[in-house]
């Protein structure tokens, strides 16, 4: 329980790591749109090349990018099979007992799977190269215009930062309480589902009590340092767009343009 790493941030100092988090968030959104624009299977080569290029620039081992696909494996297999068997088609490739696999179905299955892999693999590049703290900072600044409409952008970012900060603390605490209850003979492993859920009470109650206590103490500590929300608050690291941000945006935009033009020509 103790060796869970938060998010999947891969520390580094590459040109991708140094990009403004706002750029990365916006470009990720653009990338998602772009992947959905693709209608022909072979055009997936463009986003694939882009992902490869960024991975290379960011100096992240390919293994880490692939690892982000791991939680997806069952969904991927499920989607592939569903599409393979349930898509209507003409050209029969293979008949197993009463089930026919058609060329169209195979194409559709490969197409959907490729889209999913590219979506998750590409977006994970953002979380791999951006620390959670700068991610929330970027999000806060991006949402700032909406605060005029009453949207609590600063408060939201602060809440996210605090939550991220306390996840490891609470994990450690849960581990400690679990050990203390194990020492008192608690059994978390046997019995049916209900018995096991019930056996979590001796962990959850102390954990909640301590989480509330910590929240109280933190609120007090913030107030004693005169925290009063986002108004008039300045930042230690001011985010500024640099030429590299423009270059990254230009690259992805031209990629999008290429996809649209190539498909229009078809």
């Amino acid at each position: 329980m103790t060796n869970i790493t938060l998010g999947q941030y891969f520390p580094g100092n590459s040109s991708i790591h140094r990009l403004d988090p706002r750029t990365k968030i916006l470009l990720m959104l653009l990338y998602i749109v772009l992947v959905f624009l693709v209608r022909d299977l072979w055009l997936f080569l463009l986003p694939l090349a882009f992902v490869g290029f960024v991975t290379l620039l960011a100096q992240i081992p390919l293994l880490y990018v692939l690892r982000s696909l791991k939680p997806l494996q069952f969904l991927l297999i499920f989607m592939f099979i569903i599409n393979l068997f349930l898509t209507a088609g003409e050209t029969v490739l293979l008949t197993i007992w009463r089930i026919r696999i058609t060329k169209e179905a195979l194409e559709q299955a490969v197409f959907i799977s490729s889209r999913l892999v590219l979506l998750v693999g590409g977006t994970s590049l953002m979380t791999l190269t951006t620390s959670p703290i700068s991610l929330t900072a970027g999000l806060e600044l991006l949402l700032k215009p909406f605060s005029k409409l009453g949207f609590p952008s600063h408060e939201l970012a602060m809440m996210m930062t605090i939550a991220l900060r306390f996840i490891p603390t609470l994990m450690e605490e849960a581990d400690k309480i679990k050990k203390a209850q194990l020492a008192r003979g608690a059994d978390f492993e046997s019995g049916n589902l209900i018995a096991r859920a019930k056996s979590m009470i001796p962990i959850l109650v102390p954990l909640f009590v301590s989480a509330f206590r910590r929240a109280d103490e933190l609120a007090m500590a913030m107030e004693s340092r005169c925290y009063h929300g986002g108004e008039g608050r300045t930042r230690m690291n001011v985010l500024r767009f640099k030429p590299a941000d423009a270059a990254a945006a230009a690259l992805l935009c031209s990629l999008g343009l290429a996809i649209v033009l190539l498909q229009a020509g078809h």
Binding site: N3, K176, I177, K179, A183, R184, G185, A186, V209, S210
Partner: protein
């Protein structure tokens, strides 16, 4: 039969860049009925060592046996937990039940003790820690004061009637009177039940007062495991490890420096007091 640790080593997160050796090649025996003090600088592996004694942690190499039970086996570990009670730091944070009674009964109930006996054990444990059963059994543990919570948590372990009691800094965060109360409590418990006690503490005076033997840990290795006389007769080594001496030992050292013929090996308050009264009269 004792708790025997044979050449145990423990490494946190082996084969990663965060790899850290917490214990290396420690052999130590906890005899029946003895009071073993464990001292060492923060991060020297004291808590890790303690958790090996009841099977909460498994050594990376080496063997732990409790009364002959090999703790590498799951069944033996569960059996061992009924014999070895472990009190963590700030045990009051493990309270969770609606009433003090239910919370103290949690341990014995897990051990499968009969309901009639549970009541007897709970009342006995609460009386022992100085919480009158008739006043406290129906209270919520969350309504108690800090000191009372700690005592209730201790009662929860005492009610399991362990033959070995392991305590990880039971006095942390208590005021002097609270500390004295816990020490007195442990001494009463020992006199009544004869159980062995292993206690980690940073308070040298408390260790000096109670311990039959002291184990000194430094960066995951066992530096010494010896009688208090021997351990405290080497003040330079202790100071080098970032540890301290009991007040009585400090006083006798200073007096020796100033030419008073104080005998070596004095570390208890009452001994230095007796010596001074005799020497001055």
């Amino acid at each position: 039969m004792p708790i025997i640790l044979e050449n145990i080593s423990y490494t946190y997160m082996p084969k990663s860049h965060m790899e850290q050796v917490a214990l290396s090649n420690i052999s130590l025996t906890v005899n029946e009925g003895e009071f073993l003090g464990i001292i060492g600088h923060t991060g020297s592996g004291k808590s890790t060592l303690l958790q090996h004694m009841n099977g909460l942690m498994q050594p990376s190499s080496g063997r732990v046996t409790v009364d002959g039970l090999d703790l590498s086996l799951r069944k033996a570990r569960i059996e061992a937990r009924s014999r070895v009670g472990l009190v963590f730091q700030y045990p009051e944070y493990q309270l969770f039940e609606e009433t003090v009674y239910k919370d103290v009964a949690f341990g014995p109930r897990n051990l499968g003790v009969a309901e009639s006996e549970i009541q007897e054990r709970v009342e006995e444990a609460l009386t022992l820690v100085g919480l009158a059963p008739e006043l406290f059994v129906e209270k919520s543990p969350f309504d108690l004061s800090g000191g009372e919570k700690r005592r209730a948590a201790l009662a929860g372990i005492f009610a399991m009637r362990p033959s070995y009691l392991l305590l990880d800094e039971p006095m942390a965060g208590l005021d002097p009177s609270g500390r004295r109360a816990v020490i007195a409590l442990l001494q009463t418990l020992r006199a009544k039940t004869g159980c062995a006690i292993v206690m980690i503490s940073h308070f040298m005076d408390d260790i000096a007062k109670c311990a039959d033997r002291i184990a000194v840990l430094r960066k995951g290795t066992l530096e010494m495991a010896d009688t208090p006389e021997r351990v405290f007769s080497n003040p330079e080594a202790l100071l080098k490890m970032g540890l301290d001496l009991p007040q009585a030992a400090k006083l006798s050292l200073e007096l020796q420096k100033r030419g008073m013929p104080v005998p070596n090996g004095i570390y208890k308050e009452e001994d230095i007091k007796r010596y001074l009264v005799e020497a001055l009269s």
